[in-house]
């Protein structure tokens, strides 16, 4: 064997995370696009439904949630796209590191770069639609659990489309069935909070789903990638 210094797992994870975050920072203009998109969509609601604040307040939670999820869908396609095009995904697959963990890191980096800015402006979006201030923490909790779930599920699907050329609409079609439960529970928590009902149960369900997804989704993502690129 060669006398080498093989890096540990933590070291490799940090390398992936650092590179992807550096890349995201270098192209921070792209990072702002989903945020801008969410702002535009949210400002369309009052124009479409009328500025009556009682109505807006009723739909605010769901509208912000759906807007954020759509904005994430917009950015999902780019998760591995450039890595496939420039060959760095192949290099990653050939590295002596567990692919599932590396994929998990890539998904984490993608979540930090796209979902976190959306969560940061979510209170602003909710404010535009007159969401009551008391519900705001529930909105943030729901988003903090629902967005990583979507990133993880989306990661699997993006890996599946890795061998195809275009995937925008295809991703939406594939993601819709998977995100139905996420939307239901996240919006359910918001609705319950708005009506003054206990909202812990749906949040707990989301949390349980997130724990499961954190464990399983990177494995599925790695498996999907191997299947999709095996040709």
């Amino acid at each position: 064997m060669l006398d080498t210094r093989r890096p540990g797992l933590v070291h490799a994870c940090m390398a992936v995370l650092r590179r992807d975050l550096t890349l995201a920072w270098r192209q921070r203009g792209d990072m702002m696009l989903p945020v801008l998109y969410a702002l535009i969509v949210t400002s369309l609601f009052p124009f479409a439904l009328g500025p009556e604040s009682a109505l807006l307040r009723r739909i605010a939670g769901g509208a912000v949630l759906v807007t954020v999820l759509l904005a994430m869908l917009l950015a999902l396609d780019a998760m591995f796209r450039s890595d496939i095009e420039d060959g760095s995904l192949e290099q990653l697959m050939l590295a002596p590191q567990p692919l599932a963990l590396m994929m998990g890191m890539k998904i984490l980096a993608h979540w930090l770069a796209t979902a976190l800015p959306l969560i940061v402006i979510a209170p602003l979006l909710a404010g535009m639609l007159h969401l009551p201030g008391a519900v705001m923490p529930v909105l943030l909790a729901a988003l903090l659990l629902a967005t990583p779930l979507l990133s993880l599920l989306g990661g699997i699907l993006v890996a599946l489309t890795a061998g195809t050329r275009r995937s925008g609409m295809l991703l939406a079609l594939m993601l819709l069935p998977l995100c139905v439960p996420v939307v239901i529970f996240a919006a359910g928590a918001l609705a319950a909070a708005q009506e003054g009902l206990p909202w812990i149960a749906p949040i707990a369900w989301l949390g349980a789903a997130l724990v499961l997804a954190v464990v399983l989704a990177p494995l599925a993502c790695a498996a999907a990638l191997r299947i999709a690129l095996d040709s």
Partner: protein, 252 residues
């Protein structure tokens, strides 16, 4: 020992053998399906007594319920075939999984349309966000996703394996969706409608229903044979047995 069963299966999974087998099975399956279907329709539309609670529109169940049953059954078959395709990389399993998807989508679509036609009078609306209907709609999207993913690949086999993976994810997803929609309905205390109410079904209605279920199963077998034959021809177009078929058909 019963060693011949795996041997027979192994032989059957060879594309030219299955092509011929499907060619023999197909006419019998479709003939039987049409025959049983006609019997079931006669029983359901003519012989079965009108329901004492509902009017004659309940007669939609003779196609609605078998279709709904088929939409789930075919997804199950597709899932099993997808699993076999991914684990053992058997070409025929890939073909069966991908040939099942459009048939399943067709039955799911029929279920949604007939259910909505029935629902117009039952609920007074075309659509309600009931757990079953919503799950069925999600099922349709799953089927469409599998079909679209399959066709987005240039390499058929690669597309089949990738779509098979998606089909397996969908199997996990369907119960979760159903559970979440049930929970969602309790939250919003919306329409709690039972598709098949507690009303006892008259025996005159049962046998046409069961006959129709058998007929749709047979139809699925026939259609699967049809699609699998076409897919095998496309997949193996470089092989001699396909070339021979092409030459023979031009003479015949």
């Amino acid at each position: 020992m019963a060693n011949w069963i795996p041997l027979w299966l192994h032989k059957l999974s060879s594309p030219p053998v299955f092509y011929r087998f499907a060619g023999v099975l197909r006419p019998w399956a479709i003939a039987l399906a049409v025959l049983l279907g006609l019997v079931a329709l006669y029983g359901g539309l003519v012989l079965a007594p009108p329901d004492y609670q509902q009017g004659d529109d309940y007669r939609i169940i003779f196609i609605h319920v078998p279709s709904a049953w088929m939409s789930l059954f075919i997804y199950g078959v597709m899932g099993v075939a997808a699993f076999i395709a991914l684990v053992w990389r058997i070409k025929l399993a890939e073909v069966v999984a991908m040939a099942s998807a459009p048939i399943g989508a067709a039955f799911t679509f029929i279920t949604l349309v007939t259910g909505s036609l029935w629902g117009v009078r039952m609920w007074g609306t075309w659509w309600t966000w009931d757990a079953r209907l919503t799950s069925e709609l999600v099922l349709l999207f799953l089927y469409l996703g599998v079909i679209a993913l399959y066709h987005s690949f240039e390499d058929r086999r690669q597309g089949a394996r990738t779509a098979a993976f998606l089909a397996l994810i969908g199997i996990v997803n369907v119960p979760i969706v159903h559970f979440s929609v049930v929970w969602w309905n309790t939250l919003h205390q919306g329409s709690t409608i039972k598709l098949l109410g507690p009303s006892t079904i008259a025996p005159g209605m049962v046998w046409p229903l069961l006959t129709m279920m058998v007929a749709t199963k047979l139809y699925y077998v026939a259609s699967l044979c049809s699609r699998a034959r076409a897919d095998l021809l496309a997949l193996e177009s470089g092989k001699d047995w396909v070339r021979q078929i092409a030459e023979n058909e031009v003479r015949g």
